[in-house]
């Protein structure tokens, strides 16, 4: 698969400070999460891909176009939802999105039509003629998403899209992002320091720390692996014979204290079969958990590394 983003020794310096330190990676997922603590370089990376900052060395390619030499072409393919409030307070929502769509190159009739559509899509259809300055925080976030998708980009940059949203508004935003992702028409880059947002929306994640790549993993694969990783708590019977039976089925198993067992199920073995074997051995399975919080584990491990370098 062609990489969506390719970082090739990318270094960005502001004066004497090095913000991004020789980053190299190939991101191919449909929906890519950018994680990291504040000051890790997430926004700088996005700004560099948008051409706002010039790399001091190395380069990056977005959908095969070099950001140094084809910045304009790169920006034609991108929709950008910035982290901070960005709007023109006195303009009505739909007029603002129309302006942005026209600047992206849409003829004015198409821009107007798509601005209306985008506003309905993000759930602001009823308030589209109101001045943006009068919108609530959640509405402003949705309006930012509308301007980012109105011109039909191939790649969408979402910088902290759930910032400051209350739980229902956050849920709505996440649903919108998932919906856009699932249509399959575009790629997503979601920058956030909220693990849950990234976990719910992304299939690949790049973790930054102090300007370095601290971890890079495919969440889809992790999720698949996690589904095969079980933690059981049992009562009664003899654990030894239960384990033996599990191993005969091809499971990797390890015992812990107080009847706890960790299992990795091979392909073709279902959870239902565990219960059948347990019943045959007169063992009660009191609790069964799939391994969870894998992203949190990955993130914490990455943060533990001294310089953030893998």
């Amino acid at each position: 698969m062609d990489p969506v983003i390719e970082l090739d020794g990318l270094e960005v310096r502001f004066g004497s400070r090095t913000i991004l330190k020789k980053l190299s990676a190939k991101l191919t997922g449909r929906s890519i999460g950018l994680l990291g603590p504040n000051g890790a370089g997430k926004s700088t990376l996005i700004n560099t891909l948008l051409g706002f900052h010039t790399p001091s060395s190395g380069t990056a390619r977005v959908l095969g176009r070099d950001v140094r030499t084809h910045a304009r072409e790169v920006r034609r393919l991108i929709g950008y939802m910035p982290e901070s409030d960005s709007y023109i307070a006195s303009m009505s929502g739909v007029r603002f999105v129309r302006l942005m769509a026209e600047l992206a190159g849409l003829p004015k009739e198409h821009a107007l039509e798509r601005a209306h559509e985008a506003f309905f899509y993000v759930g602001l259809g009823e308030v589209r003629y109101r001045a943006l300055g009068t919108y609530s925080l959640g509405m402003k976030q949705a309006a930012k998403l509308a301007q980012a998708i109105a011109h039909g980009p191939k790649l969408l940059f979402l910088d902290e899209p759930t910032n400051g949203l209350d739980p229902p508004a956050r849920l709505r935003m996440i649903q919108l992002i998932q919906e856009i992702r699932d249509r399959g028409d575009l790629h997503l880059i979601l920058s956030s320091h909220l693990l849950r947002d990234v976990e719910e929306c992304c299939d690949e994640v790049l973790i930054l720390k102090d300007g370095n790549i601290a971890a890079f993993c495919n969440l889809e694969e992790e999720r698949r692996a996690n589904k095969r990783f079980l933690e059981l708590e049992t009562r009664g019977g003899v654990n030894g014979s239960f384990l033996e039976a599990m191993e005969k089925m091809g499971c990797e198993a390890a015992t812990g204290a107080q009847g706890r067992i960790k299992l990795v199920l091979p392909d073709g073995v279902e959870v239902k079969q565990l219960y059948e074997v347990a019943a045959a051995q007169n063992i009660q399975i009191r609790r069964l958990n799939h391994k969870r919080d894998s992203l949190e584990d990955i993130f914490l491990k990455a943060m533990e590394a001294a310089d953030g370098r893998l």
Binding site: F52, S86, S90, P107, Y121
Partner: protein, 301 residues
């Protein structure tokens, strides 16, 4: 597709030519300006002087009109020459300064105050195009106030003189109106945008526009008095422009020292190169100020 259909769809339609996109900004700005009654009235009022000047030119060439008014020798009082057109340009340029002070500060500062620049520049739209788009608003309005009516008056005069001779002999005045206006328009537009980019409070930016012209001129006079020199006039933008206009109009500096409001004080003229250099320096400073502020993302070093 109907707008009520809540779905996302990619766009595969035609795109506008990239060189035309900077025109989107003035189009939206003009729609906003039309809503301001004050600006509309001011803009329309700025055509009073050109209408009076047209009337003067017409009456001057119409003996029966002069007889009717009982001022048969009036054509000896008002001559349609470089002074006439320099004064016309001076009046209109002063009005253009007012217009730039009213409209200029509202161009960039709202975008900066609301962080909208990141959204403009995240599109296939460069910083230069952004500045051009914002300048275009002022350039169009000020052109309609200065060189467009100026050239129409020049054309009317040439037409009423009934011959190519006057046009050929006074062609330098036509060029003077055109290029002189453009020099002034570019300076005003750049200064208005630069101040708008640095001073986010619109009334303060407007006041600063006047300050640059009038306070700086006063500062120049103070330098002249203290240092017993004429070089303080380098701070007097209107005097510098006046000197440049005299050259562009091909007028005699001994007779003519500029247009209304734009005169270099008599006997204190500076070398012409220094006037051009000072104006170029001012433009360069404005461009530098714009380059520092017009960015997609602020860099904190």
């Amino acid at each position: 597709m109907a707008v009520y259909k809540k779905t996302y769809r990619p766009y595969d339609g035609e795109l506008t030519a990239s060189w035309t996109r900077f025109m989107v900004i003035p189009r939206f700005a003009f729609e906003d300006m039309r809503k301001s009654r004050f600006l509309t009235i001011f803009f329309l009022a700025s055509f009073i002087y050109p209408l009076i000047a047209a009337l003067v030119i017409y009456v001057q060439h119409n003996a029966s009109a002069l007889n009717l008014l009982g001022v048969q020798n009036a054509n000896r009082l008002i001559s349609i020459n470089a002074t006439f057109f320099l004064n016309f340009l001076g009046w209109q340029s002063m009005l253009a300064l007012f217009l730039a002070s009213f409209t200029g500060p509202g161009q960039v500062s709202p975008d900066l105050a609301n962080n909208a620049l990141a959204l403009y520049l995240a599109r296939p739209f460069s910083r230069v195009e952004y500045v051009l788009g914002k300048m275009w608003i002022l350039v169009v309005l000020m052109s309609l106030m200065t060189w467009v009516p100026g050239l129409l008056l020049f054309g009317l005069q040439a037409y009423l003189e009934e011959g190519w001779t006057w046009l050929r002999d006074n062609a330098h005045m036509g060029w003077g109106i055109f290029f002189g206006s453009w020099v002034w328009i570019l300076i005003l537009a750049l200064l208005a945008l630069a101040l708008s980019a640095w001073v986010k409070w619109k009334p303060a930016a407007g006041a600063l526009m006047f300050g640059v012209f009038f306070v700086a001129a006063g500062f120049g006079v103070a330098i002249n008095s203290v240092q017993r020199t004429n070089w303080g006039h380098l701070f007097n933008i209107s005097a510098l422009i006046g000197s440049v206009w005299v050259q562009l109009f091909g007028a005699d500096p001994a007779v003519n020292n500029g247009g209304a409001f734009f005169r270099m004080p008599a006997d204190q003229a500076l070398p012409l190169w220094s006037c051009w250099a000072a104006l170029a320096l001012l433009c360069a400073a404005c461009l530098y100020m714009l380059a520092r502020k017009i960015r997609g993302a602020e860099v904190i070093k």
